[in-house]
Amino acid sequence: MDLDWEQLYDQHAKALVLYARQWLPSMSDAEDAVQDAFIRLIKSPKQFDENPVPILYQAVKWAALDRIRSSERRQKREETSTMDHEPISYFEDSLESQERKEAIEKSLQKLPEDQREVLKLRVWGELGFREIGEALGISINTAASRYRYALKKLGELLDAQELTA
């Protein structure tokens, strides 16, 4: 198969980096994971037969987890996790409501990991539930229900933030 990686990159780079940041909050680390995944795709296109998109996301996840493992070996990671403590910007600034954007980013970090990754794949990766299932090795029904739970939970987290604001 003649695989046009540049076209895939143009279509998915933003969402892939966002997905990688689930495990690697730093933008540069996430970019490295995306780079690793693309190198893999370029060198082993047969692994990405037919629909390469789910496997590309899967490769990004593996690359991100691989990097976490490597850094754990080198140094016990600076601290437990930056995800719960540091504000992280995932999205372009919003002229209309910067506060709302930050509230969503904060709530996203609090979502259970399995729900958050399905949400990212569905909303920003624009993957179908079948593709999400392929990427994560779960059934289509599980993918769909995690998405529903994620939306519900995210709504609750946003409500809670509004109450405390």
Partner: protein, 179 residues
């Protein structure tokens, strides 16, 4: 119904609004150099085979790159010989995976299965290594005349102690199963 969507209750108004709001948010773009970095890394990998070590003619061993840690060759050879012995005596089913340690570390394994065999590219199995290519060169005979699959693989070492930024070719011999 869309085959991609399982039968679910439709999103309620609130969920639908939140979904729309999320979709309207654009993730941060990666740095403009990322695409060039990928292109450059791919080009470096393309040019790598010219500098690969020459494959020796020895059989029934795992050829290891010179930069691997000391003692690895003995461990890897022992593992391959062990696999050979297991296959010879038990004739396992072709779907049963065979593990070959490449660095003498139980955590760093290639899983090889099938007849003809294939290397599992899973980075969970490869840990600090990335399998960039694999090529089955068919069946050769070992020094005792027994048939062995000859698999040529390229592995990129990403461990902290890696001494090469390009993939290194290794040859793995796996006994042909008597299914």
């Amino acid at each position: 119904m869309n085959a991609d969507t399982p039968p679910l209750d439709p999103l309620n108004e609130r969920e639908a609004a939140l979904e729309l709001e999320l979709r309207s948010m654009a993730p941060l773009a990666p740095s403009s150099s990322l695409k060039d970095r990928i292109r450059q890394a791919a080009a470096e990998l393309d040019s790598a085979p010219a500098s690969l070590p020459v494959e020796p003619e020895r059989k029934n061993v795992v050829e290891v790159p010179f930069w691997r840690k000391p003692g690895f060759a003995a461990v890897a050879a022992a593992v391959v010989i062990g696999i050979f012995a297991t296959s010879f005596f038990f004739s396992p089913d072709s779907s049963e995976p065979v593990a070959v340690s490449l660095v003498g570390d139980p955590e760093d394994e290639l899983i090889i299965w099938g007849n003809p065999p294939k290397v599992d590219p899973s980075p969970f199995a490869l840990r600090n290594q990335v399998l960039v290519s694999q090529q089955n060169d068919g069946i050769v005979e070992d020094e005792h005349g027994r048939p062995m699959w000859k698999i040529r693989i390229q592995v990129l070492d990403r461990s902290p102690s890696a001494k090469s930024a390009v993939p290194v070719e290794q040859v793995v011999y796996v006994p042909v199963r008597h299914d």
